[in-house]
């Protein structure tokens, strides 16, 4: 009958599975929630290699800091230094109050925002690290603070938000 006419392909038919496409897509692994904190830190004897070095740039001027971070990133690319991560820390807003005590007391407010960009670099050899530092220092723009230090767990934790509910539950459990 025409009503019962179905064009289902049985498994023996050559057209079985004609509409499948998922095998063509790249395979997605199930996402892990926890991030791994520690990476290797190599400190050999004569051939020094720093493990993870953080280059932190702080400034009040947003565009300047961003452009400088981009410049440092591209510099590392060209010098074939491996860049692990390049991220931004949350901005801090400061309110500056001026108390003028000549004549009438007035309060002038100024709002200053501090921005910070961090570039994490791995595999710096000790002969090259000071040269890199000097290059970055000599091309530092006005008003930008530069800080180069080794990556510690505290640095990693400062990026994560504290979870008070989780901590309360843990405290209740134990």
């Amino acid at each position: 009958d025409a009503l019962l006419g179905c064009h289902r392909s049985y498994r023996s038919r050559p057209t079985h599975g004609i509409g499948k496409f998922k095998y063509l897509l790249p395979k997605e692994l199930p996402k892990k929630r926890k991030e791994k904190v520690r990476m290797k830190e190599i400190d050999a004897g004569t051939e020094y290699q720093y493990g993870d070095v953080n280059i932190q740039m702080t400034s009040h001027d947003l565009c300047l800091v961003e452009h400088f971070a981009q410049y440092v990133h591209r510099l590392c690319n060209r010098l074939s230094i491996r860049v692990n991560e390049s991220y931004a820390m949350p901005t801090k807003t400061n309110e500056v109050l001026f108390m003028e005590e000549r004549g009438s007391k007035m309060q002038l407010d100024a709002v200053l925002t501090t921005h910070q960009r961090v570039i994490q670099v791995r595999g710096l050899s000790s002969t090259f690290a000071p040269i890199l530092l000097e290059i970055i220092q000599s091309s530092q723009p006005e008003g930008v603070h530069l800080l180069m230090k080794e990556h510690t767990e505290a640095d990693f934790k400062s990026r994560l938000k504290a979870r008070p509910e989780l901590e309360e539950l843990l405290a209740e459990m134990s």
Binding site: Y48, S126, T127, P130, L133, E134, I135, Q137, S138, E142
Partner: protein, 243 residues
């Protein structure tokens, strides 16, 4: 057999660098580019809060003038106008005076002071006696067995500038090496010549109030090094100096 005595004498020298305090003046191309970018950004940008407030108050003023008996006057606002704020800020800005950029072009090339040439690196040169000659060199001291070359360089710095200098030495690896052979008259089997290892350090604090031991010292930029150093020495030193 026992280790053969090395015929080379080792020296450790310290290149003390004072970092530039000000940015270098922009070149013409850079200035034009900066002006162009600023104009583009200005034309593309939106109004900020302050500017919106200013425009609104201007409109209110106009309305008040046209329609003289406005009801708004009855409210009696005692709000500081945006225009007044701007004028206050302008006055404050005029009171601010920046420090002069060319401090010691006035001092007519006093090369012993650190305030010269605030926009470029300054290196320390010292007059030292080697053999019979008095030469201008980076401060150097002979290496003694049992200490690292870096500590030799630090000792060299300490002998010429006193102990309390805040200088940060960059790493344990030397930056350059200069070797020379002694003239034939002094050469013996054990003493062929000398090798000088250069280290680099950044000066952290810019006041050298402590007395300097040797009177002949100068702070020199990279271009002026050529006036003082010998050509071979200069070649090796120039290799590790950034401008």
């Amino acid at each position: 057999s026992a280790a053969a005595p090395r015929p080379w004498k080792l020296f450790g020298a310290m290149c003390l660098v004072r970092l530039p305090q000000i940015t270098q003046p922009l070149e013409k191309v850079e200035e034009e580019m900066a002006a162009l970018m600023q104009q583009i950004e200005l034309e593309k940008s939106h109004y900020s809060d302050h500017e919106i407030r200013k425009l609104q108050e201007e409109e209110q003023l106009k309305k008040k003038k046209e329609s003289l008996y406005d009801e708004d006057e009855a409210r009696g606002k005692t709000v500081i106008m945006a225009q007044d704020l701007e004028e206050k800020w302008e006055q404050k800005f005029l009171q601010f005076k920046a420090a002069p950029r060319i401090t010691d072009a006035d001092k007519s090339n006093d090369r012993t002071s650190l305030n010269r040439k605030l926009d470029s690196n300054l290196m320390l040169l010292v007059k030292q006696k080697i053999g019979n000659q008095e030469l201008w060199l980076l401060p150097q001291v002979e290496w003694q067995p049992g200490e690292t070359l870096r500590s030799t360089a630090e000792r060299a710095m300490a002998t010429f500038l006193g102990d309390h200098i805040q200088a940060k030495v960059l790493g344990n690896a030397p930056y350059g090496i200069y070797k020379y052979k002694f003239p034939r008259a002094i050469r013996t089997e054990n003493n062929l010549g000398a090798k000088v290892f250069f280290f680099k350090a950044f000066l952290q604090s810019s006041d050298l109030s402590q007395a300097e031991l040797k009177a002949d010292y100068q702070w020199v930029t990279k271009k002026e090094l050529g006036d003082y150093l010998k050509s071979e020495y200069l070649k090796k030193v120039n290799r590790f100096l950034l401008d």
